[in-house]
Amino acid sequence: MVDEKIVKFFEGVLSKTKAGKILWEPTAQEATFIAAIGGEFSLSISSGSIPLSAMLRPLPQGAQQGLYVLVLRDLQGRQLAAVFDTDEGIRPGAMRDLYEAARWQAVHASQRIDDALEVLKSL
């Protein structure tokens, strides 16, 4: 059964991330990025091996390598929701889009590529 609230939450995070309204940052885990929102919640998105901290519920059917998970927590760090890319209602590829958008922003990829282009010009 599709959890419409979860889908709406995911789509909201995706659209706000693409609009640059959510500030993602890197973590000690290479494939995990975090953000705080509204002074009340924090988000994390991970790719590949799922962080232990996201394992509040069993992995969904069909979960495999390359899985993405978006986790919502409250200010005390309590997990409120975890959305997997294999969850019903999540558009195929949409979670990957979110992960890539978060990663792009967190590592300042745009700026770094500009820098790299400058270096290339000077070669």
Partner: protein, 156 residues
């Protein structure tokens, strides 16, 4: 004559009541300010403690004392949860966001440390960067809390 004395007594009564009201108001304001000062000082101490633990974590990382670092990461996660719970209603949005960021960063540091192996070189470098970031967060919040005690502004 009695009318005049009665009116005078009433007037004096009104004046004394007004004075009593003013003094009780002042006493209540002073009590509230004293309580706020204690609360602010308590926040300063809590943030100072957090910044101190964060600095310890980075020191353990630099000296490759992984187990000690893991323990202190756990301590700081608990302390950050306490800060969030204790001060949630009073902290500014930016400070609450900072606490949430710190808690998340510590969580993923904890997971890296908890893996049953030593952190790889690139992981150790990331741990160091994140550790410095956590120090920065708590130092900033410590500064905000101190400023609030000095200016008597609400940091929240």
């Amino acid at each position: 004559m009695f009318n005049f004395l009665g009116s005078l007594a009433s007037l004096i009564g009104v004046v004394f009541s007004a004075l009593a009201f003013v003094f009780s108001k002042r006493a209540s304001t002073a009590a509230r300010q004293a309580r706020d000062a204690v609360v602010r000082q308590s926040l300063v101490e809590a943030m100072s403690r957090a910044a101190g633990i964060a600095a310890e974590i980075v020191m353990y990382l630099k000296t490759e004392r992984t187990e000690a670092a893991l323990l202190r990461v756990g301590d700081l996660m608990s302390h950050t949860s306490y800060l969030g719970g204790r001060w949630e209603a009073r902290l500014a949005k930016k400070s609450r966001d900072n606490l949430a960021r710190a808690h998340q960063q510590l969580r993923f540091m904890h997971e890296v440390f908890s893996a049953s192996r030593l952190p790889r070189v690139e992981e150790a470098a990331r741990l160091g960067e994140v550790g410095q970031q956590v120090i920065g967060i708590f130092s900033e919040e410590h500064g905000v809390a101190i400023k609030a005690t000095e200016t008597r502004d609400e940091p929240w």
